[in-house]
Symmetry: C2
């Protein structure tokens, strides 16, 4: 039995490895368009800034190691088309230009997503980059070393990490965001905390400002927006990603609006024997019970692994995602999981929300820092729907605590009662999460009384 | 209505404050034997070592603030006896020596626990201490400044924190533990990791060694054990605590074997209108469904608060404890929650266990550290029963994640599927907890097949 996997990074190589471990005799062929396999894309900003100087650390597992494990991994091979009727793919060897066909019994599409570079006038000038591959990172790094003034377009995760990276390199950084706030996957209170905290890292923060185009001779010299013109030596565009599924046109695979392949709980596409995983595919949101697009490495790795188990004849439903994410921006640490207030509103959820400030550990151990926690919870049941956290330490892993609580369907009351640990360097006897949950429970009780007409204040 | 509370530290003041907030018109009288109220006892080692130089930071809330909130707080007042038939307590003013009676409608016993100082010969010599109060801490700090060679007796949480504290003060520290290992609330693998890590902090670690007595003239000069005699200038005894319930003799209150007051889920003792909370009381273990003794500030604070809600007419069952605890010992960070393997064995639980080593964050961000995780889980259902973690960072809060998972009754498979966040400074796409859970799930599946006779290897 031959399984063909298109794409050899997170989801693809997770699937290939797991499949080979489960079934050493099956044939696993992986076609990867690029020169690299299985690298830590999220580590690229730290490689560019020089925080990590060793490119090889980005390579989680080498192509040779995969090949030695029995996987038929072919780098620089691009799949041009899929013929699902004849169960074969058309492949181009990018080194030789040669084209061929490869038949499959099972096909896995794990082509990921490409960074979006909008067709702005001038966008083909030199020194305008997007960031996805190690090659991109090396180009950006080399160019940035010669640059003085850098524009980052897009205030999402990658944009903000690159602001920090360029600042660390001693560059003057301009940040442009077309929305009214950066980090729109968080609620506005958190965006504002980040914007305030960005001051040491950016020369100027331009929100509500849209790029119109670029000017320059060969190399970019100016960025033109709806509000002004700015001299720059280098531009990093980080305005989002697009599922890499264009080559499947004509296959009639069901997709989300943005082209991400719609998959079921077993990670099957709408065509038999074709599976998909990772940033080219949908994921089921645990709370919304809808298929959504959350292109994160966490989902990609899990989907790849579980999909392989399913191909091997097991039954591993992908138990859905919460959009849990964490980010470090300079001294700031943020995390989010579940629904933001914005998402609750858009999805017509009857919610309540609280925001509290507390400390990450006891005042009688030095180094304590403020931590801000916002909970979104059901007005009807008190079940926690979402958490957002901001601080300087102890934030990321508390986000994971809340991801576990939300997955378990806990109410704010139950979170307030959890037996968290306490030691002065790490927490208080009532952890900051307890405080957030207890304040939420008070609001929930008060609101329930009001709704039932029994509130006497 | 008058509520009398005996004991004004964690559980007592939590109860007093909550009761006064819920019912501002009720009379709340607190009798506290000592001169201090509501201090962070767990912060004392860091105050002794000078890591925290400000004694006032230990005082979470001052007596004046409690009194201003309407609580009738009487420091230096010891309750000598309780007359439950007449609903009154006999109180001695320790400043004047005057004795009096105080009637109650509801009585809360929150007298905590005293450090055990076994009646070893010579134990009344100067410079032999136990650590409980700020006063103790000041005495130890002053004496330690003059000392050179210090013996710590007992390798539990306080003993180990004090080893670090004395080491930080530049002292030569001898640690004595009568058991074969330190930190017996963890399994032996973790005790051994700690023992190896203690090397820079102790001049000598004497396990399997029991104290026989002390020698000296006025001040301690030698510690005598079953194996030798050692010159020392100061001794800290940290061999455990004993519930402070001796004054209740004759009350016929139901207790555990060690004298801790047995309380029900509402925190009621066996006598009507008498409640108890904190280190003088039992707590229900969530997994064992047994009343056990876990004298931790976390339990004390929750019990005090929930008890007040119940006195105020609400119904807040204390939803049981997992024995979650965390500790920093020098560079080492440890956490535990739920059942250790030892506890699983003692309680006849059909368990499986795995231990893994992973990294706390991505290799392409500097500063990653190893993290060791042991899971104990049901051989029948795969439900997680316990977790123990060891490392240098990212350990304590991952323990809280596991506390949430265990509280929710998750299986190892479900933990492996949780949507934890990922960013290179904080985690890997598969977090160390995922790895531990996935390895455990593999063992569980293999074991289940073996049990059902369908294993073919």
């Amino acid at each position: 039995m031959r399984t063909v996997i298109i794409g050899g990074v997170a989801a693809g190589m997770s699937a290939a490895s797991k499949l080979k471990r489960l079934n050493p005799n099956c044939e696993v062929v992986v076609f990867e368009r690029g020169k690299e396999t299985s690298y830590g894309a999220c580590g690229l900003p730290y490689y560019i800034s020089g925080v990590n100087k060793d490119e090889n650390l980005l390579r989680i597992r080498t192509a040779d190691a995969f090949i030695a494990s029995g996987i038929d991994l072919r780098l620089c091979h691009e799949v041009l088309a899929v013929d699902s009727a004849h169960k074969s793919v058309q492949v181009k060897n990018l080194t030789t230009g040669e084209e061929s066909f490869c038949s499959y019994d099972q096909l896995v599409i794990a082509t990921g997503a490409d960074s979006i570079l909008p067709p702005w006038p001038g966008s083909t000038l030199n020194n305008i980059f997007t960031l996805k591959s190690i090659e991109d990172a090396n180009c950006i790094r080399a160019a940035a070393q010669q640059a003085q003034r850098i524009a980052v377009i897009g205030g999402g995760y990658i944009g903000l990490e690159m602001v920090e990276a360029f600042h660390k390199m001693g560059k003057e950084v301009l940040l442009f965001e077309k929305d009214s706030h950066v980090l729109t996957s968080f609620d506005v209170e958190f965006s504002e905390l980040v914007e305030a905290g960005l001051a040491p890292y950016v020369a100027a923060l331009h929100t509500n400002e849209s790029v119109v185009g670029f000017e320059g001779k060969d190399t970019v010299q100016r960025i033109v927006t709806n509000k002004g013109i700015y001299e720059v030596d280098l531009v990093l565009v980080a305005v989002g990603v697009r599922p890499n599924t264009g080559f499947l046109q004509g296959c009639n695979l069901a997709t989300l609006d943005n082209g991400a392949l719609l998959i079921d709980e077993m990670m099957r596409t709408s065509i038999p024997n074709i599976w998909a995983a990772g940033d080219c595919a949908s994921v089921r949101h645990k709370l919304l019970q809808k298929d959504v697009y959350i292109p994160l490495a966490t989902n990609a790795n899990k989907q790849g692994r579980y999909l392989a188990e399913n191909i091997a004849g097991q039954h591993h439903a992908y138990l859905t995602a919460l959009g849990t994410a964490m980010i470090k921006i300079g001294e700031m640490e943020l995390g989010r999981t579940g629904l933001s207030e914005k998402e609750a509103i858009v999805n017509n959820v009857a919610y309540l929300t609280t925001i509290i400030q507390n400390t990450d550990h006891a005042p009688y151990y030095p180094g304590g820092e403020d931590i801000t926690i916002k909970l979104v919870f059901s007005a009807e049941s008190g079940v926690v729907l979402g958490a957002q956290l901001f601080g300087r330490q102890g934030v990321a892993l508390r986000t994971d605590v809340m991801a576990a609580c939300i997955s378990a369907g806990m109410t704010v009351k139950q979170v307030g009662e959890l037996d968290f640990g306490y030691a002065p360097p790490y927490a208080m006897p009532w952890d900051a999460l307890h405080v957030a949950a207890n304040v939420s429970e008070s609001l929930f009780v008060k609101n329930s009384k009001k709704r039932s007409g029994s509130l006497d204040i």
